[in-house]
């Protein structure tokens, strides 16, 4: 097919060819950098008086959330809207899933309505992958169990790069409930691929076995994680996933692993404190730090929008199976 607009003469060799975004584990370093570079270009759109571009006009995006979410769902919804896509929100409580329909049947029904992109969050690891294998539409993983949360890690990488100018060679410490955290897993993949030195820190009961095989350093001492860190990434203590009593109490957790001003007294100057939200103030993070000069928590939210616009743009550009045959 002849394109009528002359293509740029110096196109980068980077091209996005994946139908889905399921995790950072399967992305190459170049693909991660392509998302970050694309997000860079999308950031400016949200600063305009008219925050909308026509790039995904006529595309339909479905937010299919089997777990509660405000931040991620809203971020995807605004991202789709700013690209002129149509978006439908489906949450478990209000859907036929509560009447016993299987996930794949729900997806088949949505595909019969000719949707283009499914954004899926589920409490079980692997659900987006299962759907992606069956669906012709693109699937974006918005968090599956304790497995991956790729757009969160991408926005974290974007924020670090924005503030520090690089990721390669930085010391990044991830503190908290590593075992239940999909944010930690996605970030470990992404950070190590881009050359950061990653330390994970938390109570031994919340540390998965053999995590060091992912190429990270493990410590149980908070001071050890703060010492040489350029970036301190905190995780939420997830009440909903604390089925067994893995920590004695929130008070005890705060005493050993909570971050307050005093704990950061000897931190490196220019330290970034990050949190994927929602923050349990006074548990993993004190207000003095959450609202303090090291915190980039709200920048993470702003950047999340640009990153999700970039991801929607990239996956919608890959030819679908049935179109290729035409």
């Amino acid at each position: 097919m002849a394109t009528t607009v002359a293509p740029p003469q110096h196109t980068s060799t980077l091209q996005w060819t994946k139908k889905d975004l399921l995790g950072l584990r399967e992305l190459s370093t170049e693909e991660i950098q392509l998302v970050l570079q694309t997000a860079e270009s999308f950031r400016e759109i949200s600063l305009r008086p008219i925050k909308k571009v026509p790039a995904l006009r006529g595309k339909t995006v479905v937010n299919l959330f089997f777990e509660p979410s405000t931040r991620t769902r809203t971020s995807f919804e605004l991202a789709a809207k700013r690209l002129s896509a149509d978006i439908v929100n489906i949450s478990t409580q209000a859907s036929s899933l509560s009447k016993g329909e299987t996930i794949l049947d729900t997806v088949r029904n949505l595909e019969a309505l000719k949707v283009d992109i499914l954004v899926i969050r589920h409490a079980a690891a692997g659900v987006p992958h299962l759907v992606a294998r069956q669906a012709t539409s693109s699937v974006i993983n918005a968090g599956d169990g304790a497995h991956e949360h790729p757009t969160q890690a991408l926005l974290d990488l974007f924020t670090i790069r924005e503030k520090k100018g690089r990721i390669d060679g930085l010391n990044v410490s991830i503190v908290g409930d590593i075992m239940h955290s999909r944010v930690a897993r996605s970030n470990i993949w992404g950070l190590t691929k881009l050359g950061a030195r990653v330390t994970v820190c938390g109570p031994p009961t919340l540390m998965p076995v053999a995590i060091e095989q992912c190429g990270v350093r493990v410590t149980y001492q908070l001071a050890d994680a703060i010492n040489d860190a350029d970036v301190l990434m905190l995780l939420r203590i997830q009440h909903e996933r604390q089925e067994a009593s893995l920590i004695p109490s929130l008070r005890e957790y705060r005493l050993r692993y909570g971050i307050d001003k005093e704990r950061l007294a000897h931190a490196k100057p220019g330290l970034l404190v990050m949190h994927p939200g929602p923050v349990n103030r006074g548990v993993e993070l004190d207000s003095s730090v959450a609202d303090g000069p090291f915190s980039v928590i709200l920048d993470q939210v702003t950047n999340g929008l640009a990153v999700r616009m970039a991801v929607l743009y990239l996956v919608s550009g890959t030819p679908k199976v049935d179109e290729e045959a035409a």
Partner: protein, 191 residues
């Protein structure tokens, strides 16, 4: 449909460095004459080479009029009319227009005017940034074959071409060469 392998080879050099320099200098004078100075005037170049040409034009205009002038760069990828038909999607670069376009006289700058579809996309993109008083169009090369009712206000050089041919504008900043050449396709398979 698999396209036959096609390579392009140089057919003619239509502008050299000196010709490009003179064309830009002339267009700078024409812009000033038509707009009666730089008051309320701004340049917006279309990425990639249009943005470079806009920078050069701005420098030229400032040298003549001794007044600073706003220059911006526009990426039109998200406004392309063939975006839903091409995959993988092309790389998006940032639009960099840091001034308020409301009420300004804008000169849109591009390297080659061909079908007019890029300019259509650029007009839509500008429309999303605000409401300029007027928009004029400056191009280094007009090669004909318009598919939309669009014309340029300032033209460096008109070059009649065959629609199969390619116009390559090479600028020092990007290509380490300064020239405009016509390239003709040659098909590796006999057709």
């Amino acid at each position: 449909m698999s396209a036959p392998a096609v390579t392009y080879r140089e057919k003619a050099k239509v502008m050299d460095a000196e010709a490009i320099r003179r064309a830009i200098a002339r267009i700078a004078h024409e812009i000033l004459e038509r707009n009666k100075g730089t008051l309320g005037l701004a340049l917006v170049g279309i990425r990639t080479r249009g943005a470079l040409l806009a920078q050069r034009l701005a420098k030229e205009i400032q040298a003549i009029d001794q007044q600073p002038i706003h220059v911006g760069a526009l990426d039109i990828t998200l406004y392309r009319d063939d975006l839903s038909r091409i995959g993988p999607h092309p790389i998006v670069h940032a639009t960099d227009v840091t001034f308020d376009v409301d009420g300004l006289s804008l000169v849109l700058v591009d390297d080659v005017l061909f079908t007019g579809r890029t300019i259509r996309a650029a007009l839509n993109a500008l429309n999303d940034l605000g409401r300029p008083n007027l928009i004029q169009l400056a191009v280094l090369i007009d090669r004909g074959h318009r598919e939309l009712p669009i014309r340029a206000d300032y033209v460096g050089k008109n070059i009649p071409t065959n629609s199969q041919e390619r116009i390559e504008v090479r600028l020092n900043e990007l290509d380490e060469k300064e020239e405009v050449v016509i390239e003709a396709p040659s098909y590796s398979e006999r057709g």
